[in-house]
Symmetry: C2
């Protein structure tokens, strides 16, 4: 509660008022400030620092932006106009990354910390909250027998959702990447607003979207960035269908009015969740008619990962939609996966975009994918 703060007010030089909000709290510096032309000003009061940079995670990845110190002790910089998007960023103070003390929206991630800001589009980008009917986002908790822990999952219900109406919806299982929390597709991906906007435009079917935890082996997270090199990575992949199909799908289908035929069930996901998408989807074509990996961490040893997959069986897939940014570090393994699928006579849609391994790509992927589902 701000009303109880015992921090003394710091009186600053009179050259500063333009930076100060009208609150009377002289420590309140406006940062980031997004201007109408898409330029963004960052500010940080840190008098003793020798060097301060902005690390901006944008369309083209991280590029340090050097800030300049004013006599007031405030470091600042204004960027070039930025493409409308949602940006994550940190300040590096003498090489140590910190979160902007004045930002109020945060990156959601087990390992990375940062602030978030939006450069709005005109008209609004598909991931922005606009004045259309909105669906709801519900967080559920349950005890998992597969993992032996308490975990959560998020459910998007569309604007017309009324459980008393008797209407049943198709369902998309949407999987996050390694290092994301279960809310990744909401906080970072804005899946709910993307759905709201596409449904309002008549471009996507009203659907229920389920966003579970992708960690079927929670100990994976103890290994930080090294996790993909450990045997747990494969174990996590192999246990995922058990968790999803054995626990979560029955739980969901007993709680929400969803259709339960395979043509009404889709699976999509990014990075680790892209690997889980193909491993689960292609090994359970009887359950999923729509399979959409994005920037997927493709399972190693394809023949052993998909022992029963063949062209005849794959002909039942309504859509196998494989997206990857051309600058993604997983680009090659996605290309190799497509080559392997082609060698088996399996049809797919390849979606190559600009971009690296980050949320700006996946938000656009989701907006491109959704109109194709359940048609």
């Amino acid at each position: 509660m701000v009303m109880t703060s015992s921090a003394p007010l710091v009186l600053l030089a009179t050259t500063l008022p333009i930076l100060i909000a009208a609150s009377g709290d002289a420590q309140t510096i406006q940062s980031p400030e997004v201007h109408r032309d898409g330029t963004v000003t960052f500010r940080l009061l840190m008098p003793p620092a020798q060097k301060v940079e902005v690390h901006l995670d944008g369309i083209a990845g991280m590029t340090p932006i050097t800030m300049t110190k004013e006599v007031t002790g405030v470091w600042s910089v204004t960027t070039q106009p930025l493409t409308p998007d949602i940006y994550a960023y940190q300040f590096a103070v003498d090489g140590q990354e910190i979160v902007d003390p004045n930002v109020r929206a945060y990156v959601s991630n087990y390992f990375e910390q940062g602030g978030l800001f939006t450069v709005p589009g005109s008209p609004a980008a598909i991931w922005e909250q606009t004045d259309v009917p909105h669906g709801a986002v519900s967080r559920h908790f349950y005890s998992s027998k597969t993992t032996g822990d308490q975990r959560d999952y998020y459910v998007y219900t569309p604007p017309d959702f009324d459980p008393r109406s008797g209407k049943r919806y198709p369902v998309l299982y949407l999987l996050h990447g390694y290092s994301d929390y279960s809310d990744g597709w909401i906080t970072m991906g804005r899946a709910n607003f993307i759905l709201d906007n596409l449904i309002a435009q008549g471009k996507a079917m009203p659907m229920i979207v389920v966003m579970p935890s992708g960690y079927s082996v929670p100990a994976l997270l103890d290994h930080g960035e090294d996790a993909p090199k450990t045997p747990l990575w494969r174990l996590n992949l192999e246990r995922f269908p058990e968790m999803l199909l054995g626990e979560l799908v029955p739980l969901l289908e007993g709680t929400y009015p969803v259709r339960t035929d395979r043509n009404s069930r889709a699976i999509a996901g990014l990075s680790m969740g892209g690997g889980e998408t193909v491993y689960t989807g292609l090994n359970h074509i009887d359950r999923f008619a729509w399979i959409a990996p994005m920037s997927a961490a493709i399972p190693a040893d394809l023949e052993n990962s998909f022992p029963k997959l063949n062209a005849n069986q794959a002909s039942r897939i309504k859509l196998l939609w494989i997206a990857c940014g051309k600058q993604d570090f997983l680009y090659d393994e996605n290309r190799n996966f497509r080559v392997w699928l082609s060698s088996k006579g399996i049809k797919f849609t390849s979606v190559e975009t600009e971009g690296v391994h980050n949320w700006p790509v996946w938000r656009r992927n989701l907006a491109d994918l959704l109109p194709a589902l359940f048609r």
Copy 2:
């Protein structure tokens, strides 16, 4: 995504490994580290700083804790054993407050920034997530005619909730304080886990809890800490019942299976939301039988704020439950309010606890209040 980070690994001196997680990322320092005895170690790698402190927002308010710099450039300190609770904290680096770069749970507040950590109880405190059946928390969005903006509200549904069952629930409208976001009672107050635990213990009735935005005049927030001194403060109070009773209650009652008699409708809130609670509740006794302000910002000019209130009318109130910490800066105005109520012959329950104007008090308030509702 951690897998795409272009930040170079920093190699640290070999005296550091005990601080480093097993991730292989040498920048990953464990902070805060909560020990089994309730002591907590804070660590910050910030070699160039001259002075680093921990500002801890605990039971007894903010007390700076001085950290010590080691030869490695890591500042650290271990606290005395802390009372089981959820703590908010910041680091002050040469007087500038920053969020611990290694914490991953954050304060939710318009003006204050901080990390969060839990010192668990044994047995678990009532606000901790335990292995009991859990309710869900749903976030809804709507366009408000009162305020002319898009806003959100959160709804807790109890573990046995099934909209198809035909069961109808009593409903508590639970209001946050000034500077909180709509999720205040979830992220900071842990209202959902408090309900889950009390319901599992048979101590609280299964109920639906609605947590709206308390800003009926959004411009209030432009005034920061000065807002209570502006005319908007009163306007915000006076418009609140219009927003709640005119918009949100009908919306809620059209969407969720709640009972609509006054004996099944409660209102409670903290600070600004405590003021909204008494202003709305005591002026609409025909709608609310249960009224519970906590650390309330009591409306000025009591006679004009409650023109129709008298003992006869107030006898219809099932519970008027007035809580305030003895060290709260609003203690005197709450005492004066109780004196005024007594002078009119209006009965109430006074709950005086230890504590200042912060969430440790309000979590305990909520846990004490809920068993008394809807009996």
